[in-house]
Each structure stands twice: as C-alpha cells, then as structure tokens.
Symmetry: C2
Subunit: 176 residues, 2 copies
DNA sequence: CCAGATATGTCAACATGACTGTCCCAAATG
DNA sequence: CATTTGGGACAGTCATGTTGACATATCTGG
C-alpha cells in the first residue's frame, strides 16, 4: 500500500495518538481500516444464521428485510417500506407479492388515505420473523455480552455517526 | 409485534437495567433491534459514497471488495482472497479477470509455491483503490469523530464480538 | 519417481435481487 | 374537474452469487 499511514482530517475528536485535544486530529489509516473491516465481517457474521433459515425456506435477504421492517412497524404503508429499504417500487413489488402469496404478509386498505396499502404480518409471518429475529438476536446478544454494556453505547454512537444527519431521524423513528 | 419485550439470555454482562451484576441478564429487545438497525443503516451509509464512484466506472461492490483486500494484503494468493471474501472460485474468477482486463490488478507466479498466483494492484489500480478508500474513510472518520475516541473501542469490541471466535484470527490477521 | 492432493482457471447453466422504463388505476387534493 | 399521489403490473437488463464438470500445472508423501 502506498497510501500514507497518517491521514490529515480537519475536525475530529481525540484519538489514541498523543495529540493535544484542541489540535487538528490525525487518524491513523489502520484505525479506519479496522472499522471498515470489522463492520464488514461483523455484519456478515450477524446475518449468517438467518441466511441459513431463509435458504431452507427458499427466501432471500430481501424477504427478510421486508419481514423485519413490517414486524418492526406493523401497519406501515408500502411507500414507507420502500423508503426504509431504499429500493424501488418494482423491486419491492416482487418481494412483497411473494410474501403475500406465501401467506406471510397481508394488506389492509389505509383508513386515513384509502390509496395506501398498510402492511402487517400474518400469524405465520410473525412466527417466521420471530425465528429469523432469534438468530440475529443470538448473534447480537453475544456481541453485546462479549464487549460489555459499556461498549454498546460506543458501538451505537459510531454507527449513528456513520449515518448522514439527514437520514438519522428515520433511524431514530424506529425506536418508537 | 407480539414478541415479548424482555428476552432471557443466559450469560451476559451488565446492561442498563437495574440488575445485580452477577445475576442472569435480560437484554431488552429494543437494544438488540437498535444494534441490528444501526448496523444495517450504518453499513449502507458508509458504502454509499464508494458505490457512486464504482457506478461511474461500471464496477460493482464485488470489484471494490477485491480491490480493497488486494490493497490491504498486497501479494496475497487467489485462495486467500477467496477465503476473505467468502465466495466461490468461479465468482471471484469473473471479478478478477475484469479487474485484470482493465489493468487494475496483476498477477505474479508464487515464489515458494509456483501454483499460486499472487495478486497486487497496478499503479492505476492503487489509484482507484485510494479514491474508493478515501470515500470510506471520509464516512468512517466522521463516525469516529462524532462518537469520540472513547466510543471507538466499544464499537470495535461489539463488532469483534459478532464474529464467531473461529473466524476472528482471520480478521485480526489483517492488522499486520 | 510416481500417485494423489492442491491451486488455479474455465465453460456452462442457473437464481436472486437490484435496476430502468412504461402504462394503468384509484383516490386524494387543489 | 384537472392534477398529483400511492400503488400495481409488465418487460427487459445487469451484477453477483451459486453448482457442476473438467483441465492444467505444481507440490508432496510413500
């Protein structure tokens, strides 16, 4: 690698380096790469268990994400789900119709706005989502446990810091 | 949601709940879901900037991952790269031959084992990887900065906790 | 030194999940 | 009533993963 080990960055908080707190900070490339790699491998590892279940059912990650958010915000509209997933109407359309065909998801006409289709899980769908969630939970709980509760707030803080400020409200909104 | 708010977990460290440290711990579902969601949205957000560059070049994330790890471990073998990416030889083959055709990656016959093809970036490839890395870095540095250095070790700790113990050595090995 | 294991490459077929573009309908909104 | 909005449907494309089968060069153990 020819990229220098030390990278200038205008306005960062204190790092492990011995830098006076008020000075411009230099983050070492290794620290950045470590974050990138842990994010990649950690995310992959967390998903792995659920992937196996999905595979056995002939479903994919796209189905899981839809089930997850419908479970999380029962009664959300198709448009809201599209916004959370960040995909197009056409892409979601296929996933959603498969989930409906399997009897995992059902629609209701919106009450306030009758154009909307409000989504919720069927009993079967809720059971499936619970199985998938249990896998994610097992992994995440282990991560929390191994790191300790003190680490968890740092974990949250950095991840939220990755999300562009304009998008944060949407993420926070999931926390009821 | 019909899943209970409180989930039993055998052997976890202290949480925010008022639980005596030695007792079995109960992690609240919200804390788990928050981790899952932040991991999803944070990862997506970090990648976004690089995705735009890749798109403009007609490359995809698969190419980026290959470039990233070749940059990180210059001279690694095809088999090692397959192991890091967790994909099949055939999947990597396509990506790798595209990168070679574009003059971003080159191969050398292994010295110790002449069956191996050792991979490294060309000058052009290193420049491309540096551009992509700069985007990831921008995002990650902002996350670190907003959270503060103290949070970063918690961030690392939880993510490493997500990785199954057997796989951790491989992740650590990237840190030279 | 030879038989078998290993590292890599390649061809072919297929599945998933994204995309764009277009057209349509029903309901809300002004 | 005209326009906008929420949603559905159809068609085609692309990126990236998969299996399976086979080839070739090289290493390694008996």
């Amino acid at each position: 690698m020819t990229v220098p080990n030390v990278i200038p960055n205008g306005s960062l908080a204190a790092s492990q380096l011995r830098v006076t707190p008020a000075s411009p900070l230099f983050l070492r490339e290794d620290e950045i790469r470590r974050g990138i790699e842990l994010l990649y491998f950690g995310y992959t590892a967390m998903i792995r268990g659920a992937d196996a279940i999905l595979d056995a059912q002939g479903l994919g990650r796209a189905h899981h994400r839809a089930l997850y958010f419908i479970a999380r915000r029962s009664g959300l509209s198709v448009g809201e789900l599209i916004g959370l997933l960040g995909i197009t109407k056409q892409s979601l359309g296929r996933v959603l119709s498969e989930l409906q065909a399997r009897g995992l998801v059902e629609q209701m006409v919106g009450t306030a706005d009758r154009r909307q289709r409000l989504l919720r899980l069927t009993t079967t769908g809720a059971a499936m989502e619970a199985r998938l969630f249990a896998e994610l939970e097992r992994s995440m709980a282990r991560g929390y446990a191994e790191a300790g509760q003190q680490a968890v707030s740092g974990f949250w803080a950095v991840l939220m810091g990755l999300v562009p400020p304009d998008d944060r409200a949407r993420v926070e909104a999931l926390q009821d």
